[in-house]
């Protein structure tokens, strides 16, 4: 049981996908302009990552042992179809939520954090429950960092930033300081 909790905490904080693995940086830097859109994107990504982690595990365990070289192509197809499927599902079940998520759903297909979860699950040889927890932890970590970062960027937008720092440089330096803060969680690994 301890092991399962550790998988989750590790993906959420210690090995945070955005700040230590640098996965999902494109939405992180691109979409994090406002707090509200980040929260929606985080929610949508959590859905997709959880489903993808489970699907990819099933596929990898039962089918891909016969053809490991097709892994990458299969995962991509799984992710693309999961995103499509979830889009249809949400549209049917809750049109309000669908409108709220808007264009963010299709964008998730090209989020490398999603593919990263599938690949890292294979690399670390997780079982089904661990895979699901890892996916959930990673996506929760992604959402957490995205929301925190967008809150900071909302402040930065009104701050008096030196001319050449505006835009990407200040965002990256802020992210660097955040990564530095998250390194503090490394201590959890030894306790």
């Amino acid at each position: 049981m301890e092991n399962f909790a550790w998988v989750f905490i590790s993906a959420l904080l210690v090995n945070n996908f955005v700040l230590t693995y640098f996965l999902g940086l494109c939405p992180f830097l691109g979409v994090s302009g406002s707090l509200e859109t980040s929260a929606r994107l985080g929610l949508a990504t959590t859905f997709v990552m959880l489903v993808t982690a489970v699907c990819a595990w099933v596929l990898n365990t039962y089918i891909l042992i016969y053809a490991p070289y097709l892994r990458l192509i299969c995962f991509i197809v799984v992710i693309a179809s999961t995103v499509q499927f979830i889009e249809m599902l949400i549209k049917k079940l809750s049109p309000a939520l669908f409108r709220a998520m808007g264009i963010f759903l299709p964008l998730i297909t090209t989020n490398c954090a999603v593919l990263g979860v599938a690949l890292l699950n294979v690399q670390q040889q997780h079982n089904l429950l661990q895979s699901a927890l890892y996916g959930f932890g990673a996506s929760a970590g992604f959402a957490l960092v995205l929301i925190m970062f967008s809150a900071m960027r909302e402040r930065l937008a009104t701050a008096d930033v030196p001319l050449h720092f505006r835009g990407a440089p200040i965002a990256l330096i802020t992210a660097g300081l955040m990564a530095l803060a998250f390194m503090g969680f490394t201590g959890l690994a030894n306790s």
């Binding site: 940086l25 192509i73 693309a80 690949l119 050449h164 990256l172």
Partner: protein, 214 residues
């Protein structure tokens, strides 16, 4: 004319539209693997191969691929090339392959590559598309290498594993850890912004002077 056009496509990727410095694309592999120069170069080469190969294929088949499913087609083409690159690296340099780990397969999700297919290769003839891909890929390798070199020199006091300083050098560990990646790239982008602005000011001055003399 034709020659000039393709040279122009090649050159723009290296500096003016550099995928990393000017367009801020392909950040994920950019930061993740640049903790040493050798990793950065290996990653750059793999991306180079994938980008050029898939641009060639996409542009050759651009009239055959149906518009509605083009993104899926591009991704499958890219994934094929990435698989080739993955297995090639595994065979040739197993040590580097192990260090890069999951990041080689993750080239598939590099927005730079898909972006070029969508914006350029699917619209232009093969020759121009390949030139564009070569330029963009070179720009990407240059960016990766400069970031990797800065981080390795500061964080480890070495370049390509060769020690540059004496025994007294105290390595700046943070530079090879994740935060260093963000900070270094932030500072490099800062210089790029500064340089671009100086250039714009200079061009504006020249234009003013010309208008004045007329």
């Amino acid at each position: 004319m034709k020659e000039n056009l393709s040279r122009e496509e090649f050159l723009k990727g290296i500096w003016r539209d550099n995928p990393v410095f000017a367009q801020v694309l392909g950040m994920c592999p950019m930061l993740a693997v640049t903790n040493s120069a050798i990793n950065a170069v290996a990653m750059g080469m793999a991306t180079f191969f994938v980008l050029v190969g898939s641009s060639f294929l996409v542009s050759t088949f651009r009239n055959v691929i149906p518009k509605q499913v083009r993104i899926s087609c591009f991704i499958i083409i890219i994934a094929t090339f990435v698989t080739i690159a993955d297995y090639t690296l595994l065979a040739l340099v197993p040590k580097v392959h192990k260090e890069l780990g999951a990041f080689i397969p993750l080239i598939v999700a590099n927005c730079l590559i898909l972006g070029r297919q969508e914006a350029f290769a699917s619209r232009y003839p093969t020759k121009l598309a390949v030139m564009d891909a070569l330029g963009m890929a070179t720009g990407f390798v240059v960016a990766l290498f400069s970031l990797g070199a800065v981080r390795e020199i500061l964080g480890d006091g070495a370049l390509f594993g060769i020690k540059l300083f004496g025994e007294n050098f105290e390595p700046w560990i943070i530079m090879i850890l994740p935060p260093g990646g963000f900070l270094t790239l932030g500072v490099i982008l800062l210089f790029f912004n500064w340089f671009q602005q100086k250039k714009d000011e200079f061009l504006a001055d020249v234009a003013d002077a010309e208008r004045g003399s007329r």
